[in-house]
Structures are given as C-alpha cells and as structure tokens.
Amino acid sequence: MSNRLTLAVLGVAAALILALAVVLIVVVAGGDGDKDTAGSGGAQTPSASEDGNGNGDSEAGAGELRLRGDDPLTLDPATAQDAGSAFYIVEIFSGLVRLDKDLQVQPDLAERWDISPDGKTYTFHLNPDATFHDGRLVTAEDVKYSFERALSGSTASIVAENFLGDIVGAKDVSRGRAEEVSGISIAGDTTIEITIDAPKPYFLYKLTYPTGFVVDRRQVEANPRRWTNKPNGTGPYKLKEWRLGEEIVLEAYDKHYLGAPKLKTVRLELSGGSALIEYEDGNLDLTGVGLDDLPRVQDPSDDLNAEYHQVPRQSIDYIGFNTTAPPFDDEKVRQAFALAVDRKKIAEVSLQGAIPTATGIIPPGVPGFTSDDKTYGFDPNRARELLAESSYAGDLPEITMAESGAGATVGPTTEAIVQFWREELGVEVNIQQAESGTFFSDIDQGRYQMFHIGWIMDYPDPEDVLDVLFYSTSKQNNTRYANAEIDAMLEAARVEQDSEARLATYQDVEKRLIESAVWIPMFFDVAHVLVKPYVQGFEFPPMVIERFRDVVVQR
C-alpha cells in the first residue's frame, strides 16, 4: 500500500525532473542556435558588415557599435540636467557651439560668430546647410524659440537659468515676467544676436550644454509631452528606436551639415547582467570596469589587459566643511583635519591605486589645472599642534560627517578617513548616511558639519567650480564660505578678458581655498574602460560630448 504511494510520489517527482530537463535541453539547444542570430547585437552584425562591404568608402556610414546604456531621464535638451541624458542628447541634437575632444569650443549649428568689442554681444551665423532630421533648414527663429522655451516656466527646467541666465532678459522669461528674451534678436534668417549682462568669457561654454540646443517647434507644440519619443533633432544621429529598459538604437543622419557620420549604428543595451562577462562573450564592443574587476584587467598577463584604458574624468571627490558650524568655523580645526589624512595611502589600499589623489580643486583637463600637488600633505604632528592651538582645543563638540548612501555600509574610503582622524587626532567622527535627495538638500540648508561629496564639471572652465561653489552668495555655496577678498577676485575673473591673467586669478583663489582648508580635496575621478581592438577612433572625452561620429568598427 504505502509502497504504491511512494511510487506515486516518486513518479510525480520524476515526471517533474524530466519535464524540467526537457525544457532545459530545448532552451539550451535553442539558446545555442539563438545566440548568434537573435542576441541583442548579433542579428544586426551580418547586415551591418554587408553594409560595410557594399558601401566601402562611400559617404554613408557603416558598422555597428554595441555598448551598455541606461534609459535617459529625458531626451528633452531643455530639461536635461544629468550626464546620462546628455549622453544621448549631444548625439541627437546640437547647439550653436560644441566642445571638441580637447574641450575647445568649436562651431556647430553656428559656423562662425563675432563678439562685440565690449564682449557682451555675440552674433552667430548659422551654417546654411544645417537641417533637422526631417530635412527642414534650421533658422535663427528656431534658435530663439529653443532658448525661450527652455527658460519658460511651463518647461520646468531646473538648469535653464544656470546655463542661459547670463543672457539679458532671460530671467524675466524664467520668472514669468516676459514671453520673449530681450537680449536675443534675429538679424536675418540665419543670423542671431545674443547679448549677455557682462563680458563673461565662459558664456560660450555654457552654450555647449544641452539646455540651449535647438528643438523643432512644430514637433514640440504638436505633442508637448511625447515629442521626445521620436525627436526631430539636428545632431549627427537619429533616434531610431527606444524601447524602455531594453534597447536604444541610434542611426546616422547621413545628411548632417558637418558630414555623414562614419559609424552607421549605435546599439545600446539598457539591461542585462555583468557587462564584463558579456564583453568577454563578444556581445558588447566596449564596457566600463568596476572596482572589483580592476585587479584582473590591470594584470598584464590577463588577455583583457591589452584592451584596457584609463580615462580621466572632470570631477573631484572631496570633503567639504561647513565653515559656519562649530568646530569647523575655526580654520585651524579644518587644517588639522586636512593634515591628519594620508590620502595617498587610502588611494593605494582602499582604491587599489585605481584613482589618483587630487592635486588641487581644479580637475585635470580644465584650464588652470596643474599637476603639482597644492593640497596639504600627511603631517600628523602639525595636525595635532594646530588642533591644540585652535579655539576648540580640548573641547571639541561631537562631530558628524554626512555622505550619500542607503545606510547599510560605509564606503571603504570613508572608513579609512575616519580612522585617520581617530588615530592621529584622537577624534571620533560619526558618519551619517542619507538618501541622495535628502543629502543634497540638507547640505543646502547647512545641516551638516562636514560632508563627503563630489563635483562633476558641467563645462571646462574653473569658474564652474570656484565661482559656483565658493562665491559667498552663490546658491551652490555648500560650505557657506564667505570671504570678501575671494569674492572680489572671483568677480574680477568673471569678466577678465586676458585668459592668462584670468587663469592666474583662479589659481590664486584655488591656492587660498586649499590653504584655508575649506575642502579636503580627495580624489580626481578616472573611468576604467575595455574596448575591443576592432573599434577604432573611439575617444574617451572627460566630459559628455558627441563621440560616435568618427568611430570605425571592423569586426
């Protein structure tokens, strides 16, 4: 009796295992067949290389580049405020000017421009061949519309004032006091004059950010909420497909005014498991490398080592002090904290030497950067002396450092930093983690004594870090630093027309800020990338700029 029951149960189990096995076999066998035909990029490879063979050196681009990507927050240039969105926008849209790979301003929609002797009026002459993807010519009217739309309240752009606010009358539009920007006037079909409030040499840099890129008025007005699903841009690539969470496909716009892109298709996989494994399997042509995999790709005996590249990025990781909160309102306490941290050792031990220590506040690649170390070195004796001399000697309040995070574990570098303070200064610093949104707004409101944070440059000018973060009344002055002398220097640098003198001023400001230990500059950022050898011409710009046009993929 019970034997029959055992048999029945065993039978059911066996049938299940059998069924699973069959499914697996089908899947594995089917999967093998699939892999080279239906895999994300695989199916396109044959047709893409056929294109390559067929067209040879003709105008139209060839080849396909496959990489990992993320869904952008938006493809609307006016509201985009993050590198992730800008990555796509700079390919699909374009503005009056752009940055080249050396971060120099180059003509884009504007083929040339004149600057008035007082440095305040820019006259842009549009490229007469510039067209939208649907073939319509780009006019001065389109530029004016795009700027005004970006500034308009109903567009809800957080960054519009930041990038276009220097234009006379721009703030009247963003604050709802006017419909048109008084500083923008049309001087012909393809000529536009823009007047700014002061002769600011960095104004052109601001125009390289997506906020001022040109959009198609008819398309936007016909479908204000959904037009970005198939945007009619002016960039070298058209958005061919965007399946949320799955794939974005960019296709070359062969009639682009700066010439047809060499690379025909860019395929971005928006989800999946380990990118490194997919890269090794040949499903991706390039990928970033995480810290955990670094030792492996940096090992010269590893096959991947030949395909490994280090790319500097224009950003800096730092510890900021709230200069109005005890005990960091005393310069000596800040200096002591700076001197007690051995950043080089942290870089070696916690970051496996993958990230360089910062030499100052201005990141590499930005004019004014120098490679000599201007920061405080590791000097624990001096640190203890300074702490003893400070007004808080022997009477330090409780100190908490804030960082962005989910609260589970502290980053390896944060742990090391706190340990240095504990061992060298005998000060126990608490760590408080907050979700990024809360973290940023709490910093704004001066709720932290000190914070571990980073700054990513938006355009390659020292103004974008020194003025934006340290001018006493700047909205982003998160250290609440106020120094009339520094303010005066920053004001002078804004409008200094001699670029050498201007950079010298910024370097002086940088030196004083470091001396006063408003920040402990910690690390400059570096990206770690693997690229297949058959991908040629892929540049690693330290900022978000157009990057696919000149790539050649020959598998």
Binding site: L5, T79, S271, A406, F440
Partner: protein, 319 residues
C-alpha cells in the same frame, strides 16, 4: 444557487474601488510625507532652491497633499492619467510599467508552476510519512533553501551556473524560452516550496484521521487512492486561496531582489528604483497595480472554490 454566486461576485467587486481608494490615499500620503522630493533627487549636484520651487510649482508639488491627491484622483478617473514619472519624463506611467509587468509575469511563470507542482505533493507525502525520519528530512531540506535570503542565493546561483558551469548568462532576460530563465526560476521557486509544502502538510494531517478517510480505508481502497482522492481533495483544495496569495507575495518579494540583482527590467527592480528615487507617481501606480492583482487573484480562487465545493455550492447561499 448561481444567483448566490453572482451576488457574491458583485459584492466582492464593490469592495475593489473602496480598497483602491484607501490604498491610494495611504500610499500617496506616505510617499509624500518623508523628507526630500523627486525634484531635489533628480537635480543631483544642481542646487538652486529657487529653481526647485518654480519646478515644484509647475508640477503642483507645492500644494497641500490632500489637494494634490484630489488632482491626481481626478486625472486618473477622467483621463487615465497617472501623473508624470520623474525618472521617465518622456513617457506616460502605464507605458513605462506595461513592459515591466510583462517581463515579470513571464519571469515568474515557471516558478509559480514549480512551486505548486513540487510543494503540494511534497507536503502530502511528508504528512503521510509523519512520525518517520522522512517527514522532518523532506521539510527540513526545503526549509534550508527557504532560509537562504534571496540576496545571497542569487549571487550563489550566478556563481554556479553562469561563472563555473557557464551554462547561462549572468543576468538579463532573453524571453520565456531562454537560458536566462534558469537562475530567476530557481531563485523564485525554491524558497516558496517550503511554505507551500508545510501548508499542504498541515492541511493533510488535519484530514488524515477524519472519519471519511477511515471509511475509505475500511472500504479497502489502496492508500494512494485514499490520499489523493479523499484526503488531498478535502485538505489541499481549500488551501488554494491562501497558497495562491502567499505565492504571489513571495513572487513579488522575490522579484524585487532577483530582478535588481540580475539586472532584469521587471516590475521588481522597477519599484526598487522608484522608491529609492522618490518617484511618487510611479510607486503609487505600481502599488495600486499589485493591489488589483491580489484582489483579482483572490476573487478568482474564491469563486473557483465555491463553484467546486458541493457544500457551498448546494447550500445556495454564500457567506
């Protein structure tokens, strides 16, 4: 009798909008109460409180919460508009959620089936073997797997199947018939088996010594017939409501971790991302959707049970 059933269904359906109203109001308040807001989250290093306020005003986030709720409710009811997603600003929320649900539904399908097909026979078998070493060993075996948190199990499975054996991709989702299904199916089904098995075991045990079972045995039926035809039908079938509900909860919970860890664009990884970035309207829409899924699943199972249970069916009245 069919009247009774129809009335019952109508009565249950009437509760759907009321439940949804309560759930939506609660979720709306909870998500908007805490510190921070999506405008601030998505602004990253751009800190311009004045600009934030202008944008908040544009989205109506500066209004009192109850008023915001009213506007939201009106838009949902009149236009089917669930508001903007701050993460996917170029799309409508149903459009963002749709493909994700479809991925998760396919991802959970095998796991759902396996949980039942393995869990219920195992539970019955363990009950029948009560008092022998097999009972604790079988249940213990599945409990062991249930005790491994998904966050630990998934990386272990990836290590085993994707790295060492190199059978399957380390993540992603390539469709229902693909090798990418192996790890999520195991991760989603194995922890659930123990739960289902224990419920089936308890239910079986409680029926195993009932009079009608003794009668069946006395009639000379063989043990398998007794267990499957008499015991199981009377113990396991009524259990289905609880089990389906529990499995759904398990699947959604499991999906949250499994999808996040494997980089699968399903509803689990989606809600994780939405909660983290305070994408209010998306969290709300997903919560409502899950609520509806539960209510519908429970209703269908209840109705099926009523239709199948002669006692309920023939009495002509339903509770």
């Amino acid at each position: 009798m069919t009247d009774g059933l129809a009335a019952y269904i109508v009565r249950r359906l009437l509760f759907v909008p009321i439940t949804l109203l309560i759930v939506s109001l609660a979720t709306f308040y909870i998500t908007r109460w805490g510190p921070g807001d999506p405008v601030s989250v998505y602004s990253g290093q751009f800190r311009d409180e004045e600009a934030f306020d202008r944008v908040r005003h544009q989205y109506g986030l500066d209004k009192p919460i109850i008023q915001q709720y009213g506007i939201w409710l009106r838009d949902v009811v009149t236009d089917g508009d669930f508001g903007v997603s701050f993460r996917y600003r170029d799309r409508d929320i149903p459009e963002v959620i749709g493909p994700r649900i479809w991925v998760s539904a396919r991802l959970g399908l095998y796991a759902f089936i396996i949980t039942f097909l393995v869990g219920i026979p195992t539970g019955i078998y363990a009950a029948v073997r009560q008092g022998t070493w097999l009972d604790p060993v079988i249940i213990g075996f599945f409990l062991l797997f249930q005790s491994i948190p998904v966050v630990v199990a998934v990386p272990m499975l990836v290590m085993l199947f994707a790295v060492w054996l190199d059978w399957v991709p380390p993540g992603g989702f390539d469709g229902l018939v693909s090798r990418s299904m192996l790890i999520p199916t195991l991760a989603l089904s194995v922890p659930g088996i123990a739960g289902v098995a224990r419920l089936a075991r308890t239910a079986t045990l409680s029926t195993l010594h009932d009079d009608f079972v003794r009668t069946a045995r006395a009639k000379g039926l063989d043990e398998a017939t007794v267990v499957f035809r008499h015991v199981a039908r009377n113990s396991v079938v009524p259990l289905m409501t609880t089990v389906v509900g529990l499995s759904l909860v398990g699947l959604i919970e499991g999906a949250l971790f499994t999808e996040t860890l494997l980089g699968i664009p399903g509803i689990g990884s989606f809600i994780y991302e939405a909660v983290r970035s305070q994408d209010y309207n998306v969290v709300l829409a997903v919560v409502l959707l899950i609520t509806v899924a539960f209510m519908v699943a429970n209703l269908v199972v209840d109705v099926a049970l009523i239709a199948l249970d002669p006692r309920v069916r023939d009495s002509g009245s339903v509770r």
